[in-house]
């Protein structure tokens, strides 16, 4: 087996054995979304207007919650030391771990998002762009988050610091992800936004693994 599949298989197996972790993230996504009608009132037209943005913001926050542990557990129990010492390509290990993270948190978020969109009265034509934008955007969320998660290894208040570092970098994803939904609900094409999100994903794919690997190397020094 290649390095990628070995690490991916292990992380997936761990995630399945500890599936409560993934479920907690999905539960957070649901609860945080449900808070909004209480905050802005239950009028269907207001909720429909903000549905895309609300789902994107809460999805970003939910992903951040889980990113905190992406490398921290392996760092604390010495697995990262051993991985760095395995003589395998560290960026490949990072890509495998990020893929596992996306499969175990990004995908469940995408799956549950239409149900939450229902409660926010998202117009019918908004569902497809929402799902597609999440599908293309959430891998970038995991990739950028991985850099932050590796940078805060060994700090005193990793989780809060991580949000602080990573959330500003999520703004482009949020802008184009929400714009895709909005374009569709106002009768315009949403493919340009998806293309931009795809471009962001490719850029993150090429750069993030190297930056994360560099951050891990300095963390295990």
């Amino acid at each position: 087996m290649s390095v990628f599949t070995t690490v991916l298989a292990r992380d997936l197996r761990l995630a399945i054995r500890q599936s409560a972790d993934s479920l907690t993230v999905v539960a957070f996504f649901a609860i945080a979304t449900v808070l909004f009608p209480f905050g802005v009132g239950p009028e269907a037209n207001i909720l429909a207007r903000i549905a895309g943005g609300v789902l994107w913001v809460t999805a970003l926050l939910a992903a951040l919650l889980s990113l905190d542990r992406l490398f921290a557990v392996d760092f604390e129990d010495g697995t990262l030391d051993q991985l760095v010492l395995s003589g395998v390509s560290l960026p490949m290990v990072v890509l495998a771990k990020v893929s596992a993270h996306w499969l175990t948190t990004g995908v469940p978020l995408i799956v549950i998002s239409p149900v939450l969109a229902l409660t926010l009265h998202l117009p019918m034509e908004g569902y497809l762009p929402l799902l597609l934008a999440l599908l293309v955007g959430t891998p970038t969320v995991s990739l950028i988050g991985a850099v932050g998660a590796a940078l805060v290894l060994g700090t005193r208040r990793g989780g809060v610091l991580l949000s602080f570092l990573v959330l500003p970098l999520y703004i482009p994803i949020l802008i184009f992800g929400t714009a895709a939904v909005e374009a569709a609900t106002t009768g315009m094409g949403f493919t340009p936004m998806l293309s931009v999100l795809g471009g962001l994903m490719i850029l993150a794919l090429t750069l993030s693994a190297w930056a994360t690997a560099a951050a891990i190397r300095q963390a295990v020094e």
Binding site: M1, S86, E221
Partner: protein
Amino acid sequence: MPCTPGKNLKEINSTTWILLCYGPPMVGENFTAQEFSGSGLACRRGGRLVFEGLQFAVPRGGALVLRGANGSGKTTLLRLMAGLTPAAAGQLAWNGAPVEDAEQHAASLRFISHLDAIKPALTVTENLNFWAALWGGGQIPHALQMLGLGHLAAYPARLLSAGQRHRLALARLLVAPAPLWLLDEPGNALDDSSLAALTQAIADHRARGGMVIVASHGAAFVSDGNTLDLGTFAPTNTAHWSDT
């Protein structure tokens, strides 16, 4: 787990492979590296210079025991030898040639630290399988048997006692061969029979031409090893820059 050739065992025929995988005790001249050494090594941790001007050399089949008071840098030196911590000065060398490729260096060593890198949610075998797959090894039943964990192979690692966990960490040494073992206090939490197994594993490894560097202030697992006292290399702290 299929048995695949490790990086240092490229020229071994299939019969030997079967022996290596399933047939303890392992014999044969497996490791070819003649010497692992370091010269002029200095290291800083947390802004403090821990040691400087440190020299060492371990010949083929040799052993080195690191001794020194708390804070003298035994763990730091092991992490430096592993290539995790960069040296502030000096260099490591294989057969006299300086280490340049960090990945290749990492592939020729096994490092046992006080962090056991064990996932409680995986079974004992699954824990070892992961490293075997990464390192290209496959001697898991043998490794578990050597350390008296054979009967626990299918249990989740979270059920293991502290001593059993530590033995599982040590089992990584035997999963896939590598010429250099770096062991940080390997005797901690081990009972007498496990200590005997460890002593035996180290002796076997050395008999095959492997090298062992061990930090320990307790029991001796290594016979006739050289001793390196880190107190000798404590910094003298005289240099200051001139006022600007």
